[in-house]
């Protein structure tokens, strides 16, 4: 197996991975940086983020307010030292992107424009129409092209971390074009591999969001943190699951049920605000967890609209007018027209909540370091505990910048004065990957179909680990995912050739998703309270006495995982009441 020797390996070349790579290259031009991704960088799912990125920039705003919104939005499960670091770094990172050419929308005087977003008490979301993630990704990718020390390994599928002497020192990966295995030796590894939304059947996530980075870290001994917190975005297209950005509501769109009632007022987010005059942090600008949960209650009450794509509520943007829609929400208009046949200028569009984002992930601290020395993580794959139990819209695009850069700086510190790698030991570890892949190819007694297993996993997650959960449902979910992991050992590859074998990659991705699904269901079963995006019908209240702490799930081979807890860091905001009524202040 060919060995590629580098200083730092980054796995994932979306927003977080690219930001990391640029920070490394800028700080130390002599560094050898390997940037590995299973897709070309511009295909990464950062491109699908729409609404924008939050950072305090306007004179009427303050760090304290961004702090309070984020901590309250996260239902006090955020680590407050992390939030403090994040909010202070956020404007600098967004300005840095501006200096790299990101086409942010502007005010008439040429300064950067901001828009309102859910759960934020001030307008602080920087945006590039409704293609903010797309522009951030392409700005980073194009900027990265000027650094010759960033060596890209596009379409390399990362397989296993190489751990020796208690330190992470590299990774094995398959060149997808040839099917050849390679090992990368490095003094530090940074995972920026994105989320795992594809373990659910109805998701805004692209096909590539299969939790490979999370699973890789988990298998290597790093814990997954707070995986039970899965964000449902309130407004997805009911057939494809495509995201209709929260900016639809930020710009003034309203949500109505089949009776035409703006039902959010019935769920602690009232009183009703005038149509077309959105007020911050209430009604349609409530946080995502509450707005998605309100849909579920409307469904139980029979207040949803029956459509050929299932039970929906209506997102009405007609009053915004064609000019504003074209200027601020062109992608939304296009998506609704193409995939649903609805022109949002003329008609309300049916929508329903859709799995969008993993608050949980590889456990990291504010330095973006995992508990495994030499391993760092950033972006959606990481759980740095910024988002707590519910992420506020427009915090994640900034998170990948702030902690992408932070991961680079931490990795640089880590590699100073490290002892030389034990090449023989790493080679032996890499052999294990080779054997694992060889076994997949040589399996002959397989009885299970991969697409069948994948469907069972998705259906289990939707049925048992959705917006509202119960003890009984979660027990069934844990058992079912366990069974699927066992049956996964008997899946047989249909395609046993080498070149761009997507049958193989889908099988590996299914393995990653099953690992992530285990952590979600086990964590959810153990957390006997309701907080943010984790809602238990049998434990409807938040329980700070027992659960003001992070769930830590440790891999134990084929056995059930070990669950442990870690206290939440509280610096200045004791747990309080989340108030999204119009009377808050």
């Amino acid at each position: 197996m060919e060995t590629i020797s580098t200083d730092v390996v980054i796995i994932g070349a979306g927003g977080a991975g690219l930001r990391t790579a640029i920070a490394l290259a800028e700080t130390d031009p002599k560094l050898r940086i390997a940037l590995i991704s299973k897709v070309y960088p511009m295909r990464s799912h950062t491109c699908a983020a729409e609404g924008g990125a939050a950072g305090v920039i306007k004179p009427d705003d303050s760090f304290d307010m961004h702090f309070d919104d984020t901590v309250g939005g996260g239902d006090w499960l955020s680590d407050q030292d992390c939030v403090e670091y994040f909010i202070r770094e956020a404007p600098r990172e967004l300005l840095q992107l501006e200096h790299w050419g990101c086409p942010w929308n502007r005010e008439a005087d040429g300064s950067v424009a901001v828009r309102p977003f859910g759960g934020m008490q001030k307008k602080r979301t920087w945006f590039a129409a409704d293609k903010s993630g797309f522009h951030i990704l392409h700005t980073l990718f194009q900027t990265s092209l000027q650094f010759p020390s960033i060596i890209r390994f596009d379409e390399y599928y990362a397989l296993d971390l190489l751990v020796d002497d208690g330190r992470c020192q590299g990774v094995t990966a398959m060149e997808m074009r040839s099917g050849q295995l390679r090992q990368f030796h490095a003094k530090a590894v940074i995972i920026a591999g994105g989320g795992a939304g594809r373990m659910f059947p109805f998701s805004t996530n692209g096909a590539i969001k299969t939790g490979d980075g999370m699973a890789m870290a988990y298998r290597a001994g790093a814990p997954l943190k707070d995986m039970e917190f899965v964000q449902y975005h309130p407004t997805g297209l009911p057939n494809t699951g495509s995201l209709l950005t929260e900016a639809c509501r930020g710009e003034g769109g309203i949500l109505v049920n089949k009776n035409g009632r703006r039902y959010l007022q019935d769920y602690g987010m009232g009183p009703e605000t005038p149509v077309g005059k959105p007020q911050l942090k209430t009604m349609e600008l409530g946080p995502r967890d509450r707005v998605s949960q309100a849909y579920w209650h409307e469904l139980q009450k029979g207040n949803t609209v029956s459509t050929q794509w299932g039970e929906c509520v209506m997102l009405d943007m007609r009053h915004l007018g064609e000019k504003k829609i074209n200027e601020r929400l062109p992608l939304v208009r296009e998506l609704a027209a193409s995939y649903l046949g609805v022109d949002i200028v003329k008609d309300p569009v049916p929508i329903r909540p859709v799995v969008h984002y993993m608050m949980g992930g590889i456990s990291t601290n504010t330095q973006a370091a995992t508990p495994l020395p030499g391993l760092f993580a950033a972006g959606e794959c990481a759980c740095v505990s910024l988002n707590g139990a519910n992420r506020l819209g427009s915090n994640s695009l900034v998170e990948l910048l702030v902690f992408g850069r932070r991961a680079a700086l931490s990795a640089l510190e880590h590699i100073q004065g490290l002892p030389a790698t034990n090449t023989a030991a790493l080679n032996a570890r890499a052999e294990a990957t080779q054997l694992r892949i060889r076994e997949l190819f040589s399996r002959t007694d397989g009885t299970e179909s991969m697409s069948g297993l994948r469907k069972e996993m998705m259906d289990t997650m939707e049925k048992n680990a959705g917006i509202y959960r119960t003890e009984e449902g979660l027990r069934e979910g844990v058992a079912k995912i366990d069974e699927l992991r066992e049956r996964y050992q008997r899946v047989i590859l249909t395609d046993k050739t080498n070149v761009f074998n997507t049958d193989l990659f889908q099988m590996l991705e299914l393995g990653s998703m099953l690992d992530c699904a285990t952590a979600v269901t086990v964590g959810a079963l153990a957390r006997k309270e309701s907080r943010g995006a984790h809602q238990r019908l049998d434990y409807p209240e938040r329980d700070d006495k027992n659960y003001l702490r992070h769930t830590m799930v440790y891999h134990q081979g084929q056995d059930a995982p070990r669950v442990d807890y870690l206290d939440v860091v509280i610096t200045k905001s004791p747990p309080g009441v989340r108030d999204y009524s119009g009377d808050h202040k």
Partner: protein, 247 residues
């Protein structure tokens, strides 16, 4: 929901096992509102796991799923079955080498994109602590359309010139160079001009306009190329006809 039996003829090629490419016929029941990508996904899940193609976002923004559909370069996630009758022919994006089945190698495009320096080369560098560069909505509008390129490479597949002269830098890369040239914050035009105004640059373009017709992001690369040609001609006149090279 309305369903219909869809027939597809898909180009297959595996360098491991095939000496030549061939068409494989599939029949699959699809929903009327589906796109071609949905049909391919159903084939892969239920009929033939060995079929290979790229896709991710299913919303025409990641640029992965470009392929030839009935001879036209299209994003398969944004090509609706309702617009087709009879057998739908699906082939890999033309003008690029085939890796396998519908998967092509984009190396040449990536190399050209890198060469045109598609990043901001600041006119007047300033530290972050001094805040943002001011840019009015009108200044943003001058280049905004050219920022929308999703790098799907459909324009390269559509461009007859790129088919004939593979050295041609091509529509997307030139549009992205032009995007930065038009940005009020940028001062790197001279550096890019050496590449895009060269023989392999805009002057290869015969202004067929096929690039703009197929662009799923409405970038209109043809207009970018035309603008570069005009600007380059002005440069030439300044340099050759004005005293002191017009500096």
């Amino acid at each position: 929901m309305k369903e219909r039996l869809v027939q597809l003829e898909v180009l297959r090629y595996n360098p491991d096992t095939d000496t030549d490419a061939y068409f494989q016929h599939y029949e699959v029941v699809c929903q009327e509102e589906w796109v071609v990508l949905d049909a391919l996904n159903k084939i892969k899940e239920t009929i033939d796991p060995t079929l290979n193609y790229r896709w991710s976002c299913h919303m025409a923004v990641c640029g992965s799923c470009g392929m030839m559909i009935n001879g036209d370069p299209k994003l398969s996630c944004h090509t609706f079955l309702r617009d087709y009758e009879g057998v739908i022919r699906v082939e890999p994006l033309t003008h690029f080498p085939v890796e396998r089945d519908l998967v092509t190698a984009p190396d040449d495009f990536i190399e050209k994109l890198t060469r045109v320096k598609p990043y901001l080369i600041p006119k007047k560098p300033k530290p972050i602590s001094e805040g943002e560069y001011r840019q009015t909505p009108a200044q943003l509008k001058r280049y905004h359309q050219f920022t929308l390129c999703i790098n799907c490479m459909l324009c390269y597949a559509a461009c007859p010139e790129y088919g004939l002269t593979p050295k041609f830098i091509g529509p997307a890369a030139i549009s992205l160079a032009h995007r930065y040239n038009q940005d009020s914050r940028d001062g790197g035009r001279d550096e890019r001009q050496e590449i895009i105004a060269s023989k392999e640059g805009v002057w290869e373009c015969t202004f067929v306009g096929a690039c703009s017709e197929v662009c799923p992001a409405h970038v209109d690369p043809a207009s970018a190329l035309q603008q570069v040609k005009i600007a380059s001609s002005i440069d030439w006149f300044k340099e050759h006809l004005l005293p002191g090279g017009g500096k």
